[in-house]
């Protein structure tokens, strides 16, 4: 048995000594080939594929969006309702919305589909205005 074991060990060492460098060289070669040849080709193919997809599908997407917008515009009609009340206060002007809302209505039936309340509360500060009169002459003419 001892001889068989020595035989196998010797054979294994010999095979390893001869085969390992070859396997390493093969692996390195494949690696170089993938990196230098196949990698760029895969990258170029992917780029070309993406470009083709964008070229071919962009028109479809554009047509779809255009048709969708047209259909929505034909189907719905926005309407603003309400009042803005302007009130003069000390040193400024207050603008307050009263029932201001944006209604989205059906074009055909006029039914309200959605309604958005728009709160408005704006204050505009107005500084004092000075008017100076300097030697302003008032002359009257007789009408004959």
């Amino acid at each position: 048995m001892s001889d068989v074991k020595t035989f196998v060990d010797t054979l294994g060492k010999d095979v390893t000594t001869v085969a390992a460098p070859r396997i390493d060289a093969l692996a390195a070669g494949i690696n170089d080939k993938i990196r230098n040849t196949y990698g760029p080709r895969v990258s170029a193919f992917a780029n070309e594929l993406v470009k083709d997809i964008v070229d071919e599908q962009s028109a479809n997407v554009r047509d779809f969006v255009t048709a969708l917008i047209e259909e929505l515009c034909q189907r719905y009609r926005p309407e603003l309702a309400g009042d803005v009340r302007a009130h003069i206060t000390q040193g400024g002007l207050d603008l307050t919305g009263q029932g201001v809302k944006l209604d989205l209505k059906r074009q055909d039936t006029g039914a309200v589909v959605a309604s958005l309340d728009i709160p408005i509360a704006i204050r505009i500060n107005v500084s004092d205005l000075s008017v100076t009169l300097k030697d302003t002459m008032i002359k009257l003419d007789v009408v004959r």
Binding site: G82, V84, H87, I88, T89, M137, D141
Partner: protein, 75 residues
Amino acid sequence: MSIVDDLVENLVERNAVKLNGALTISLVEGGLAVKGRLYSTLRDQKKGKDLLNVDIPVDAQVRVSDVVIPVPQIK
């Protein structure tokens, strides 16, 4: 032409009013306030002489009610 017409005509043609002063217009609760002082001088232009000086203090308030503005419609 009556004497009164002649008098008025002469007064109007000869005289002019000169105004000086300053006014401040400010916004107050519910309206506008005008404050200041005006100095008025009535001058005889033919004689080149001031006839009358008037000092006019101004302290006025104008009430302005709320203004309701309908929101614009979307066409």
